[in-house]
Amino acid sequence: MTYKVRLEIFEGPLDLLLHLIRENRVDVCDIPVATITDQYLKYLDLMKVLNIDVAGEYLVMAATLTQIKSRMLLPRSEDGHDEEDPRKELVDQLLEYQRYKGAAEDLRNREEEHEEVFRRALTGESIEVADNTPPEDVSLGQVSLFDLLKAFEQVLGQIGDVGRHEVEVDEMELAERLTFVMKRVGSKGTEFTQMFDEGTRRIEVVATFLAILELIRQRQIRVQQNGIHGAIFIYPIMMERG
């Protein structure tokens, strides 16, 4: 049996692109396509290593990027006519998406502020409890999935090159890994890199990372990051008895 992660927390190929653009500190309107495409494909590889079910849209975007990259290499026509920048359509799409992402951020702030305000409860209204919410509602808090993947990549990088071979996770019992992670996190929490001992086999690193994702989904742990490129910490979510 191969364990397939199906997390609904991906915000899509456009989000990944914006993330890469921000990380490279380049202008959305002047994307270095070759660099960004390489990094984009690297992320897809990483998701494959994790056996994450990559949505088809990510592959479509990969194809689009590759196509733009090759069109950028073509010599410009010599009749002097300004040809349209092959990146234009993608740039427009990114800018549009960025506007809505900003609006979503604004909504998040309002939600957080309003979350602290209470009104009279409706008679007999049961209080919304978080744990029967569908998987779409998984929130990583302040750490994006991309940040986690990056941290994971760094740990993998210390072990050896990110290979392209299939990794079988079946020899690791996931349940065992979940317990391992919870133990490591303890009651006070720990730093992400502390989850992986020196000399850990690659397969164990992958299994541990999958277990972390699973525990986030189950709302047993939460992750937090100090600053944009800071260390990532994992904390247990204490269940209050209701």
Binding site: I9, Y97, K101, A104, E115, F118, R120, S139
Partner: protein, 173 residues
């Protein structure tokens, strides 16, 4: 009724009401004894009166309600033995953002903006009563069009959609 009496009635009604109370409802309640001008000025007075108190008179979803203050949220949650209200996922917020600014909007249009399938998220938002079907487009396939609900306003502590900034003015990139 004099201003103080009107204020007293309104404050009392706000206290017992479970839903935001609309000016229209208050005028109807005190019909013949207070007109909408008197009600509105009494409400404005009440809002000011509550400035220094531990509760607040707050506009929400087109009406007024008594609510706690954010700085006491921690104690309320502790009392209710609840960790946190279920928050919306980043994906849900993105879809909501598109619906808010583009409503009535079809699923295809939302997916075009996000570059990702969003049928699951739409379903969740419908279940949470944050969006609803507002009609069908008069194009081939007659796709459903979505819009936001009153519950949406309440969830984000908004009085009306006009309170939201214009699209692009909140860009955080």
């Amino acid at each position: 009724m004099n201003q103080d009496q009107i204020k007293a009635v309104i404050e009392t009604v706000l206290f017992v009401s479970e839903e935001p109370v609309k000016v229209k409802d208050l005028v109807e309640l005190m019909s013949g004894q207070a007109n909408s001008d008197a009600v509105e000025s009494a409400l404005a007075d009440l809002e000011v009166d509550y400035k220094g108190r531990n509760l607040q008179v707050r506009q929400a979803a087109g009406g007024y309600r008594l609510a706690t203050r954010p700085e006491h949220g921690w104690w309320v949650k502790r009392y209710l033995k609840r960790t946190t209200r279920s928050k919306l996922s980043p994906a849900a917020l993105e879809v909501l953002a598109v619906v808010v600014y583009r409503q009535p909007v079809t699923r295809a249009e939302i997916e075009e903006v996000r570059g990702l399938d969003c049928s699951g998220v739409l379903h969740t938002l419908m279940e949470k009563d944050l969006i609803r079907i507002v009609g069908r487009r008069k194009v081939v396939g007659r796709p459903l069009a979505y819009g936001t609900t009153t519950r949406f306003l309440e969830h984000f502590g908004l009085n009306s959609l006009q309170e939201l900034p214009k699209l692009g003015e909140v860009s955080n990139a």
